[in-house]
């Protein structure tokens, strides 16, 4: 995907979220917009507002695992604070063969919807894999 993904997708920026620390591997990019083609879609695009890349396809983990309930480290809990209202998105690795799609359930993006502060965290849940095959036939 090149040029403006925004125009490509014909979708409206919903929210700009801010990462103090960036995403792993992309620490210099702090501000991202979440784009959704339609309101009830579980697949979204998270794109840097600085440039067209980095961009990540992200998913609502609840669509994958209806009881997805990450356990944050003490450090991350303190980082977001008691009054935070956290939502999670998981990074999706796409392939031209869709059945190979991977989702990182171990390291979701936590977003405080009150402040739009975001951080890619490592959850303590031992049964959440880093490479989860979205379509079970691949497992």
């Amino acid at each position: 995907m090149t040029a403006s993904h925004l125009k490509d997708f014909e979708i409206v920026p919903k929210d700009v979220i801010h990462f103090d620390e960036g995403m792993f591997g992309f620490e210099d990019y702090k501000d991202f917009v979440i784009m959704q083609e339609d309101d009830d879609s579980c697949l979204m695009l998270l794109q840097s507002i600085q440039s067209e890349h980095p961009a990540f396809v992200v998913m609502d983990p609840v669509a994958i695992m209806s009881d997805y309930s990450p356990i944050l480290s003490k450090h991350d809990k303190e980082y977001f604070g008691k009054d935070s209202n956290l939502k999670y998105l998981v990074v999706t690795v796409m392939f031209s063969d869709v059945s190979k799609t991977l989702v990182n359930l171990k390291s979701p993006i936590a977003i405080d919807v009150n402040t739009n502060k975001a951080k890619q965290v490592f959850v303590e849940n031992e049964d959440y894999p880093i490479r989860y095959h979205l379509f079970e036939s691949e497992q």
Binding site: A55, A63, M94, S107, F122, R131
Partner: protein, 88 residues
């Protein structure tokens, strides 16, 4: 793979100048202290893997892949929603 048993406060030495000390053991958690030269990179493995996946995720973003995956993912979600509605 070399396997070594160590107790709390014992350590192992790797090469000439890397020391890994078992500082604390509590339930299923081990606290390690590492003495190593500044130029040696020390990372939690999952961080390295997540970084690699992020890089790959960013490289593979394409509209074609997105459109294809979106319809599959939304169908998956819908069929799950229908199933869970049935339970109520």
């Amino acid at each position: 793979m070399l396997v070594i048993n160590r107790k709390s406060s014992e350590s192992i030495i790797i090469g000439d100048n890397i020391e890994i000390i078992v500082s604390e053991i509590e339930n299923d958690r081990v606290k390690l202290c590492i003495n190593a030269p500044r130029e040696v990179s020390i990372l939690r493995k999952e961080l390295l893997e997540t970084r690699k996946l992020n890089v790959q995720a960013n490289e593979n973003v394409s509209k074609q892949n997105f459109t294809q995956l979106k319809s599959l993912a939304d169908n998956m979600k819908k069929s799950r929603d229908v199933k869970s509605d049935g339970k109520h």
